[in-house]
């Protein structure tokens, strides 16, 4: 018994090592004075200086941020509506097609989605003149489309778990359907909306393939810049950028972890209170 657990935890630890070692190495070598990857040339923040001085990287990062915030917000709005439709509307005409349109983007290879979206934008511009050219707008439209599915799945599972009688009770107490949704349903599924938004944000700010297809001159996202640099080989500046990303994500997770910890403590306090009441 003891041995088996040891083996299993050993495998788990190996899995974690596999997942984290590359990231740790990346962070370490971002402080390497030497340009060569294997040679440790002493501690240096030189590459961070070069990164901050690189206007192209900064512009791209700002553009990516705008795209990600806009796409995530729009995808969360549309995805929530889609989830409501799937969970609350029962059977409706075209439901099969709709679930297909929701699940297919989850696994669709990016090269196909990217090509398809670009051809759509070209065809639309030819026939109705909008959207004019490829720009930030076309990137956002494309990102909303594939992020929408992920948000829908996240919100859908929370909505399906929610006790329907809460909505019925609100209606029974005199609230109209729209008010029920805004005052009861929305606050209860809010954590799922936040999770969906964050997921969409991450997918959008991370996307390179679809963006590469639908972008045009003047709209270069951060992943596109990184990709073109990386294709030329290992570059210490990218190590520094990666470290910045890891740092931002770590801080975000630390904050989220603290919040979750506090919520959990509050929950335990509530349970204790409830138990004391007997």
């Amino acid at each position: 018994m003891k041995n088996r657990a040891l083996i299993l935890y050993g495998l788990l630890a190996l899995g974690y090592a596999f997942l984290y070692l590359p990231i740790v190495l990346l962070v370490t070598y971002s402080f390497n004075a030497s340009r060569l990857v294997t040679v440790w040339g002493g501690f240096s923040t030189r590459w961070y200086g070069e990164l901050v001085a690189d206007q192209k990287v900064l512009d791209a990062a700002w553009l990516s941020l705008k795209v990600a915030v806009t796409s995530a917000t729009a995808a969360t709005l549309l995805g929530t509506l889609a989830a409501v439709m799937l969970v609350r509307f029962g059977r409706f005409r075209g439901r099969t097609l709709f679930t297909g349109l929701i699940t297919a983007p989850l696994v669709m290879p990016e090269v196909i989605t990217g090509l398809a979206m670009l051809l759509l934008f070209v065809a639309m511009e030819q026939s109705i003149g909008w959207p004019a050219g490829r720009s930030m707008l076309t990137i956002i439209l494309a990102h909303v489309t594939f992020c929408l599915s992920f948000v829908t799945v996240v919100v859908q599972s929370r909505l399906a778990q929610m006790d329907l009688s809460l909505e019925e009770a609100a209606m029974d107490l005199g609230a109209r359907p729209l008010k029920v949704f805004l005052v009861i349903t929305l606050p209860i599924i809010a954590p799922a909306l936040a999770a969906g938004w964050l997921l969409a944000f991450t997918l959008s700010i991370d996307d390179v393939v679809i963006s590469a297809f639908v972008t045009g001159p003047g709209a270069t996202t951060l992943p596109i810049v990184v990709f073109s640099k990386v294709r030329l080989g290992v570059s210490p500046e990218i190590n520094a950028l990666a470290t910045v990303v890891v740092a931002v994500v770590s801080i975000g997770i630390a904050v989220a972890g603290r919040l979750a910890h506090r919520r959990e403590r509050e929950r335990q306090d509530s349970q204790r209170l409830a138990a004391e009441q007997g």
Binding site: V37, L77, A116
Partner: protein, 305 residues
């Protein structure tokens, strides 16, 4: 049925409310996801031309004023005649399949161990699997370039320990692509596996033990079959996107690592041959339709239950 007017009116209103809720996402997905695929199909049947956009319309006015429909199957014929495409398709399927098995071999013990860990630790352990996903995918693939290069960290380590005498060529081989795909897609395998394993009623195993079944046999006879939905979902989540993967083979693979995503990219960006790129996409979809449907079946079942 002779319903009162008011009843019919409120029913109508309710249906309109539903309509207004459903219309935006439905219309969005039809316009931006369904229609594009029809256009891809259309353009795969047209001919390339050096213009903007670089393809000829399917409908054209012939000289005598007759509307002509020009369907061109040449792109598909081209895919069949040039070996490159067939090899790329088969190679993509092979690489995706091997990587999926790799994910399963690494991911199953991880998911199993997490699902059987003390309840208070499970979320934290699972979080550790998902965390790397929140950092950039591109950067994580890039990290492996530095590790796998011939003058990279792995070779330096192996030379230092004396396991090898001269550096191994790993980067720019299929092996590097396998490592990259397994590394990037591992969370997608672990999550659904964990979900099914965690839900499992442990008293089933106790019942099996009580009936005289040894732990390993109980795993084979009870745990494994019950976790099959998770295995299928995880495998589809890895396999389908991996078939069309572009970034990983482009950065980690060599010039002879042929994958269909790379071919499509090259046709589109380097050769600017949109019709052939579209034909490649359509052919890839045909291959992927069956796995996508399996995935969808599982996904809707998982949500319904």
């Amino acid at each position: 049925m002779n319903q009162p007017l008011g009843n019919r009116l409120s029913g109508l209103l309710r249906r309109w409310g539903r309509f207004l809720v459903g219309l935006p996402p439905y219309a969005w997905l039809v316009l931006f996801f369904l229609v594009p695929f029809l256009i891809v199909f259309k353009i795969s049947l047209s001919e390339m031309q050096a213009a903007i956009p670089p393809y000829k319309p399917l409908l054209a006015w012939a000289e005598d004023g007759v509307l002509q429909l020009r369907l061109n199957l040449g792109n598909y014929r081209y895919l069949l005649t040039d070996d490159l495409y067939a090899v790329a398709y088969l190679n993509s399927l092979k690489i995706a399949a091997i990587s999926t098995v790799g994910c399963l071999l690494i991911g199953y013990p991880m998911a199993y161990t997490i699902a059987r860990a003390p309840k208070g630790n499970r979320n934290a352990l699972l979080m550790l699997v998902v965390l790397p996903f929140w950092t950039s995918f591109l950067i994580r693939v890039y990290a492996w370039m530095g590790i796998l290069k011939s003058e990279g960290l792995l070779n330096a380590f192996l030379l230092w320990t004396g396991v090898i005498n001269e550096p191994l060529q790993i980067l720019e081989t299929d092996l590097a692509v396998y490592i990259g795909i397994v590394y990037s897609y591992l969370p997608f395998m672990v999550l659904p596996l964990y979900a099914t394993l965690e839900k499992m009623d442990l008293s089933l195993l106790e019942a099996a033990a009580d009936l005289g079944c040894r732990p390993f046999r109980a795993f084979l006879a009870v745990t494994l079959p019950l976790s099959l939905p998770g295995v299928i979902a995880g495998s589809m989540l890895v396999f389908i996107p991996a078939v069309g993967e572009f970034v990983i083979p482009d950065l980690l693979g060599g010039p002879d690592t042929l994958m269909i995503g790379k071919v499509l990219w090259a046709e589109f960006f380097d050769n600017r041959d949109w019709p052939v790129a579209s034909a490649v996409a359509v052919a890839m979809l045909v291959v992927l339709v069956a796995p996508i449907m399996v995935f969808q079946r599982y996904q809707s079942k998982a949500v319904d239950s």
